[in-house]
Amino acid sequence: MKKLIKEITSVFGPSGDEEKIRKYIKKQINNYVDNVYEDNLGNLIAVKKGKSNGKKIMFAAHMDQIALMITHIDEDGFLRFTNVGGVGHNFLPGTPIVFADGTIGTIGVEKLENINDLEMSKLYIDIGANNQQEAEKIVGIGDTAIYAPNFSENNNRVISNYHDDRIGCVVLIEAIKNIQDNNNELYFVFSTQEEVGLRGAKTAAYQIEPDIGIAVDVTATGDTPESHIMDVSLGEGAAIKIKDNSTITHPLVKDLLIKECKNNSINYQFEVLEFGGTDAGAIHLTKGGIPSGTISIPTRYVHTPTEMVDLSDVKASIELVTALSKSIF
């Protein structure tokens, strides 16, 4: 699983530009599913057929990443940029980044009188070009760059540039490999454009019309020094989301997740997130409404270039998704 995490967090796939990651995931799951296809918005959808008494479950993990987009190339070959999704500019100075073709760069900052003056417009990307002409041979306006891969591990704790939400993709990929004899009909959606407004999952849910929807995504924790108060900790198990800004988990789904954790001795914790949202927010308001919830993987430093998870939480999440494949509800 570590190999998968290392590989998948290094594959390029900013919101709206998910071609490479889509190909990568398709290759991982092709042999384990009955059908796999791409829809109009680029979502990768894999199907495992169920039995006649089964229900239809849609799982969604987003494969897109927050990123930087080039807006201007100046005379000296420096690149100005804007954010794709929720990028915190205070984490950017000194961060190595990489473009789709492998071009690398680092982020510099203009001279500041006061550190509080730091904002996105004071930052620039340096790709080592000597002038505009040289830079324009390598990159163009509208090109996107991601945080450079930086997978590393200490025992059970793993750091990478994009656990959000490649770790959710890992959970679904591993579950797809595990699941056998499922009675529910399972739709695994590797969704697009989550980071810019839960867009891919919305159209996928419209087409699939599941009985329930489950997003698999990262969540913040409250277990670091002077952190926001939040009762989620690394290593305490899969987090069952109660609410965030996009959804209040449907009671049917919440009870189902608790039941499966108890029946299968899966470590779990509850999560109340006071900000943010997941694909469940888009799924549950589709058509006549779809009972939905989220399985969250507790993650420290979400949306920074170095996010940290605990592998035991990842394993618990995989077990929970696997258990749902046979769940009767």
Binding site: G16, D17, N40, M69, R199
Partner: protein
């Protein structure tokens, strides 16, 4: 010139009938079917029986403006904005009020009477009013009803050789381009939507797309050109005279890559200039259209326009001609609507 007629017509969000009627007159004989839907969107189809996939072009008919919200005892009219308007741009502008097109001017306290604190701040909505020359509430009520829409009284005029000034280029330019495109033949069914209520929250076009279910959508817009002294060059969103602007990303949409690449290819093959819009702010009908039903691959192409959302804006007529030509050639390059 049709763009002049469209620019000078009044069509504040939800009150688009004058614009709709002009468009109807100009496209009736060029399309197979033409109808207005429940929301008020004007929809037409050309080549309905052709075999290819449905392609949708969309532009919005509505413009930002004002609405009458009160009548003072001295006959002056209170108002509030419809859509995003910079209130600093309003004082002393001539306007027309209501469907009877009553002339008025936006008034405020003269500079001699302002306190220094008032001079340093934008005048609040509550202190701005429209003066139609009536001197009592009773007299004003003969001409005005609460809820009447107000649009700017700005004449379209060519400036210099290549530029034009006028109001509501956002998005009468798009309407005008689509009308022009309907003159030509394409080898797929072409659906066009002239949408309502874009400026108050992208409300119209998505509903139309829901009914049409196209296989792709191209939204033709007007976007802000910011090549003006108060901006650094890296802050320019788009510039005048550098060709139509393609949107890679804004707040409502990430454009479909294949459509954008197709338009770039067409422009390169035909030596038509284009620019990539540099800012990621704002949103268009494409946001709603792209998320309709199972998803509709969508993209936005715009005419750069200075001083957008104000009583008068300025465009390049050269960019405008390039925009028409580029989309026409792109659509002719599309084989059976496959992009």
């Amino acid at each position: 010139m049709l763009l002049k007629r469209l620019s000078e017509a009044s069509g504040v969000s939800s009150n688009e009938s004058e614009v709709r009627d002009i468009i109807k007159d100009n496209i009736e004989d060029k399309v197979d079917e033409l109808w207005t839907d429940v929301m008020g969107n004007l929809i037409a189809v050309k080549g309905k029986k052709k075999k290819g996939k449905k392609v949708l072009l969309s532009a919005h008919m509505d413009e930002v403006g004002l609405m009458i919200t009160g009548i003072e005892s001295n006959g002056l009219l209170n108002f509030r904005p419809v859509g995003n308007i910079d209130k600093r741009s309003l004082v002393s502008k001539p306007v027309i009020v209501g469907n009877d097109k009553i002339n008025g001017v936006i008034g405020s306290k003269a500079i001699h009477l302002q306190k220094s604190s008032e001079r340093n701040n934008p005048i609040p909505w509550s202190n701005l009013y429209i003066d139609i020359g009536t001197s009592s509430k009773k007299e004003a009520k003969k001409y005005i009803e609460l809820g009447d829409f107000v649009s700017f009284k700005t004449k379209f005029k060519q400036l210099g050789i290549n530029h034009a000034k006028g109001k509501a280029f956002d998005d009468r330019v798009g309407c005008s381009v689509i009308i022009d495109l309907l003159k030509y033949e394409y080898d797929f069914p072409l659906y066009v939507v002239f949408s309502v209520q874009e400026e108050v929250g992208l409300r119209g076009a998505g509903r139309a797309a829901f009914d049409i279910e196209p296989s792709m959508a191209l939204i033709i817009e007007s976007t802000s050109a910011s090549d003006v002294p108060e901006s650094e060059d890296y802050e320019f969103s788009s510039s005048l005279d550098k060709g139509p602007a393609l949107t890679i990303m804004d707040k409502s949409l990430i454009s479909n890559k294949k459509i954008i690449q197709g338009i770039i290819n067409t422009s390169k093959q035909n030596d038509i200039p284009y620019q990539i819009k540099k800012s990621n702010t704002g949103g268009t009908d494409a946001g709603e259209i792209s998320l309709t039903k199972e998803g509709i691959p969508s993209a936005v192409i715009s005419l750069p326009s200075r001083y957008i959302h104000s009583p008068v804006s300025l465009i390049s007529l050269k960019d405008y001609d390039y925009l028409k030509k580029l989309i026409k050639l792109y659509l002719q390059d599309l084989n059976k609507g496959e992009f």
